[in-house]
Amino acid sequence: MTRQGSPFLSAHAGAHDHRIPWRAADYPCRTVVAHGPASAEPLLVLSGGLQTRHSWGRFERHVASRFPLVIPDLPPARTPGQAAQSLSWDDLTDAALHATHRLRISRFAVLGVSSGYPIGYRLAQRHPDRVTRLMLFGAAPRPAPRLAELISKGLHREADSRSPCSAEGPPDRLRAARELVSVLTNTEAAERHLLIKAAGRVVLDQLAASADDPLIRYVHDRGFLLLRNPLPPGGVRGVPSLVGVGEFDTATTVADNRAVAATISGATFIVMKNADHLLHMERDADFATLVALFLDGRPLSTLQHCTIETMP
């Protein structure tokens, strides 16, 4: 495979934050680039809800020497009190694409996790000439019933004019954070697997430390969009693709992820053992190895603790 690096990124070796002007505002975008000549296409990392460009520290340590990373903090899809001006999946896709223009990246691979997946999917669907490889983890055609119910609850709470941020005190915020984490992670699996439990605890601590109601933050960030066609019709063709999921994932189940993979021509579908929804935290080394193998076009059969299928 011919690989094309980015001279612009090579001139910005190391870790940098860029401001990406987009529409009337701007958003930050982290780039992590090894010193040396450009030899690999960058990987655009599309984080899940409430994750930031700083949520990928371990992944960076594993892979940044091999390919440049571009990690945007896309704008939240909704601003408190301005529901009428909500962004759509298409808007967020445009925002992500704009980062590649701004950083003068012509071709790039895409990694989309959780609620970053609908954006990655749309990029590959609409720009197969620019997206060299697509990797999606934690992808579902629609949110699981418990998550959909929680999102609806967050929307109602947001609409409550008496108390737009009803989780006002630390105990309320902790309760709301626990509720959200209990839906996004598999608490039974966490009791049996230390790293799954630790990942949930990290997310819980981050949410509980927020000054705002964690559930409303989640809904504003991107959560409400999960109720609006995260998986667009039309499928993806012409882009080598991988869809992966942890075997214990209850937020986006194995069946959900397989259903998304089935819409992508020739996609590889992988289930990681002993893992839940936060794969890059729970199985960081294996996750990074999987991504690197796939980006290099090497066989995934050497991976341990995984099952692999190829979609028609």
Binding site: R58, L194, L195, A198, A199, R201, V202, D205, Q206
Partner: protein
């Protein structure tokens, strides 16, 4: 290296998944790669195996791996 340092380094490298090379007593937490996941694992293991409840914020407030081990050592001594 004392026993508590060996225990802490063992937890960080074998259970929290940090590469062992940089995790030395003299290393700062940043140099050792101690991140929020590693701190969460450490907090859970010392709670489960030693009955110590130390918050992630208190664990993260230390400068070096040796300081981190010393904090845990003081809690162990107080509990004895």
């Amino acid at each position: 290296m004392d026993d508590t340092q060996k225990t802490v380094i063992g937890i960080l490298t074998r259970k929290a998944g940090l590469p062992p090379g940089p995790v030395t007593p003299e290393a700062t937490l940043t140099e050792a790669g101690v991140d929020s996941m590693a701190v969460a694992v450490l907090a859970m293991v010392i709670e489960d195996e030693y009955g110590l409840v130390i918050t992630e914020a208190d664990l993260s407030a230390n400068s070096t791996v040796a300081d981190l081990a010393a904090l845990i050592g003081r809690h162990l001594a107080a509990k004895a």
